[in-house]
Structure formats: C-alpha cells, structure tokens
C-alpha cells in the first residue's frame, strides 16, 4: 500500500463515526454528520484516484461534492419545516 491508499483507508474509516451520529443523534445533528461525510467521501475518492494512478476517477470526486451539497440542502429544507 502506498501513502495515498493508506490515506484513503483512514478517510473511509472516518465515515463510520459520521454514520454513528446519523443513526444515534437527532435529525439536525445527523445533517451535520452527512455534510461532513460528503466532504470526506469526495476527498477519499480523489485520494484513491491519485493513489491508483487513475486520473479519470478524479471526476467522481468532483461530481460527488456538488451532489452531496445539493443533498444536504434538501435535508435542510426538511429540517426547517420540522417542529
């Protein structure tokens, strides 16, 4: 394993606590965790593409980040209406 693959494993492992917050805490706190998970997931894809030497896979990271942004915005809309 090179340093980029090790970084990918660490980043993917960091997604587990975010999932725990989503499952065990309130909806608002879960949205924060999803927001962070989107950032970490996109970076994991980028680092994996670099580690494997597959430049086109970097596109996945560039696409994943805006999609995650849009998804969180949708959750925020639900959160605003929730009382």
């Amino acid at each position: 394993m090179n340093e980029w693959e090790i970084a990918t494993v660490v980043l993917m492992t960091a997604l587990i606590p975010c999932g725990w917050v989503c499952l065990r805490r309130s909806f608002a706190e879960g949205v924060v965790a999803v927001q962070l998970a989107g950032t970490i997931g996109a970076l994991a894809l980028l680092v994996l593409a670099e580690g494997e030497g597959r430049e086109p896979f970097g596109d996945l990271a560039v696409v994943a980040a805006p999609l995650s942004f849009a998804g969180v915005l949708m959750f925020l809309r639900f959160l605003e209406r929730m009382r």
């Binding site: 917050v21 962070l36 970076l43 980028l46 970097g58 942004f69 959160l79 605003e80």
Partner: protein
C-alpha cells in the same frame, strides 16, 4: 526521501489529520451548533490534500480536479454550515433570530 516526497507526506498527513479531527469533533460535541464548528476544518483538509496532489503531480489533470474540488468545498462548506445553523434554529424556535427565552438581550424592533 526527496524534498518533494517530504512535502507530499506532510501535506497529505496534515489534510487527513484535519478530516479525522473534524470527524472526532462532530462525534464528541454535545449539540448541533457545537458540532457545526468542526465542519470548517474539513474544507481546510481539502486544501491541504489538493496541495499534496499538486506537490506530487505538478500541473496536471488530477491536480486541476483537486483544485476545483478544494475551491468548491472552501466556498460551499461555510455556506452549508450557516444554512444548517439557520435551519436548526427555525426547527427549534420557529425563527432564526435570538429569542427572549434564550437569555440573550434582544432589542425591540
């Protein structure tokens, strides 16, 4: 180990450390507003990882993608944090502005 390798290790390690610290902060903090403070360092980590890609590859396609990703996260992450705090307050109080029951001095409008 060349200077370039050292720079890559340093930047990549710092970037991943930022993400891990952000993750631990989101898990450990008590409420949604405290947790939101730890989403910011995640964007800093993206900048450091993009810098690591630049240090390894130089000007290239993957470096451009890393830069675009980091720039997007630097812009989007604070905006989302603001939106999340606003939505959380709307959900809790029905209004995002400071409320009297919070013990904060509020000027009459």
């Amino acid at each position: 180990m060349s200077l370039q390798d050292a720079a890559v290790y340093l930047l990549l390690g710092a970037g991943v450390a930022c993400e891990v610290i952000a993750c631990l902060g989101v898990v450990v903090m008590r409420n949604v507003y405290d947790r939101l403070h730890y989403v910011g360092p995640a964007a800093l980590g993206a900048v450091l990882i993009a810098a690591a890609v630049w240090a390894r590859e130089g000007p290239s396609g993957i470096a451009l993608k890393a830069t675009v990703l980091a720039a997007f996260l630097v812009v989007a992450s604070p905006a989302l944090a603001h939106g999340t705090a606003r939505a959380a307050r709307l959900s809790r109080f029905g209004d995002w502005r400071p409320q009297r029951e919070e013990g904060i001095e509020v000027e009459d409008s």
